[in-house]
């Protein structure tokens, strides 16, 4: 009986040693998807773009299962510039949490999904020149005592993992208790269930949500403002340069502004158009 126990112990030890060795081996293997060039995309005849499917009006999947929204318009325009045909885009719905792994594992060619510039992100992906900018505000029930992020001290706040809202609150109000979700829909439902006093997220999305949920309102000063850019794998400079030029062209041809006017139903349109002007005239 005792011998058997020893044998089992040995087996287990062997397994541990083996798994640890494997871990060490993995740690020295660099992993990166193979870099693509603009030529390869042109030759493939389509571009695979990671876009938001749950973020109106920037990128949503409509009742027919089609992607639509402001960013989708811009993606289609890019496809028109690239292939002379706006429909050569293959869309992949991404979330704030999975878009960068999707890019770096080669599932998508570029990220065009409401991605704000942060230093952490810039370490793992390259950004285009900015085409928009947003900040974080709070969504609360109408009549809520929460008026500013200072009121969040010691309260429970709903956020989305990895967003500038979650990171900004961590720094500005570290003693607020955050419940973090993966998706906007989950966060919103949690807010409606009163699981937190506020939902901290990009102001533009919140203004859009207020449209659909009139019992809620956007409050607080704008914090953690960020410029939005298209994301590329590190070093794919030809694709990035092409997108930069395309963005400039979209601004010149007023595609960018007209499409924003078409989609944006919020109240601060002029403010956003001014931000865009400032960005492109720099």
């Amino acid at each position: 009986m005792k011998e058997k126990g020893n044998e089992e112990g040995k087996k287990m030890r062997k397994f541990f040693v083996l798994s640890f060795t494997l871990l060490m081996v993995f740690s020295f293997i660099s992993i990166a998807a193979e870099a693509k060039t603009l030529e390869e995309i042109k030759r493939a005849g389509k571009i695979v773009i990671g876009a938001k499917g749950d973020y109106p009006p920037w990128g949503v999947i409509n009742a027919q299962g089609k992607f639509e929204g402001w960013e989708i318009d811009l993606c289609n325009k890019l496809s028109e510039y690239l292939f002379g045909d706006p429909t050569r885009v293959e869309y992949v719905a991404v979330t704030g949490g999975n878009r960068i792994p999707f890019l770096n594992s080669g599932k998508i060619d570029i990220i065009w999904a409401t991605m704000g510039y942060t230093e952490e992100r810039a370490k793992v992906v390259d950004f285009s020149t900015p085409y928009f900018s947003s900040g974080v505000q709070l969504l609360v029930k109408k009549g809520s005592p929460i008026k500013s992020i200072k009121d969040l001290r010691g309260k429970t706040v709903i956020t989305i993992k990895g967003t500038t809202g979650a990171q900004g609150l961590e720094k500005l109000v570290p003693d607020a208790n955050q419940i973090k979700f993966d998706k906007t829909s989950e966060a919103l439902q949690a807010l409606r269930d009163d699981r937190g006093v506020a939902f901290a997220q990009d102001d533009i999305l919140l203004y859009e949500l207020v449209h659909d949920y009139p019992d809620y309102t956007v409050v607080g000063e704008v914090f953690n403002p960020t410029d939005w850019g298209v994301g590329f794998r590190k070093g794919e400079n030809d694709i990035r340069e092409y997108v930069n030029q395309s963005l400039k062209r979209m601004y010149r041809e007023k595609v960018l502004q007209e499409s924003l006017k078409k989609w944006w139903k919020g109240i601060e349109l002029d403010e956003y158009l001014k931000r865009i002007d400032a960005m492109f005239q720099k």
Binding site: F16, L23, F26, S27, F28, E120, A166, Q189
Partner: protein
């Protein structure tokens, strides 16, 4: 992209909180799902058709739907009819309900494997129905079902990871949260894989001891 050990070291306090909650969910899950199974199994095998039907309905529901759906249902659907419990409680309840269903079936097959002769022997000794269950049938059924129960327990430990979807700060949640900020996929997923491996080895080692102690000598 190289392996950065510092990321792991810096994450240790947060990871510790994750491990604590994973363990708490596992221990509570195992204890509660087992205790309930002990109570529910005789009812599941009751002569009362309604009672039996109710339990077999419950087992069918919980064995034939994904546990992720059950977790989401408890967390997001029940508040709409006025029942609201915390994320941790929702996760625990989902795990207990799910594994209770599995444990009941294990115990039931164990009880059915107890030879009729032993029931009769119990009766001949003048034991009541409850005494026969407590002194003869259940101890035997537990021993017969032990290997299958151990399977369920290990599976429960692994499935605590699913509770991360409603924001319970357990091991997987911690990894995903750090990754969402720092993009350290390799480091964090390797770390939690190793931690899970250790936890599961620990659990199986413990349970194997129990199994050895109570194994049936035939």
């Amino acid at each position: 992209m190289n392996f950065d050990f510092e990321v792991i070291v810096r994450a240790i306090p947060y990871l510790r909180r994750g491990v604590f909650n994973t363990l708490l969910l596992t221990v509570l899950g195992i204890v509660l799902s087992s205790v309930f199974a002990l109570i529910c199994t005789p009812l599941r095998m009751s002569k009362n058709r309604l009672l039996r039907g109710c339990f077999s309905f419950y087992i069918d529901i919980f064995r034939n739907t994904p546990i992720v759906a059950q977790i989401f249902y408890l967390y997001f659907a029940l508040p709409l009819i006025g029942i609201k419990v915390s994320a941790f409680a929702c996760g625990l309840i989902a795990l207990v309900l799910h594994y209770n269903a599995y444990n009941i079936e294990v115990l039931r097959s164990g009880m059915e494997a107890v030879p009729e002769g032993l029931h009769e022997a119990g009766m001949a000794l003048g034991f009541t129905h409850l005494q026969r269950l407590r002194l003869v049938v259940v101890p035997l059924a537990l021993r017969i079902g032990l290997p299958a129960l151990v399977n369920n327990y290990v599976s429960l430990l692994k499935n605590t990871a699913l509770v991360s979807i409603i924001g319970v700060v357990e091991l997987t949640f911690v990894a995903q949260d750090i990754i969402a900020d720092k993009f350290t996929y390799l480091e964090m997923y390797s770390t939690i894989a190793l931690v899970y491996l250790c936890l599961i080895f620990g659990l199986t080692w413990l349970l194997r001891k129990v199994e050895k102690q109570y194994t049936l000598v035939t």
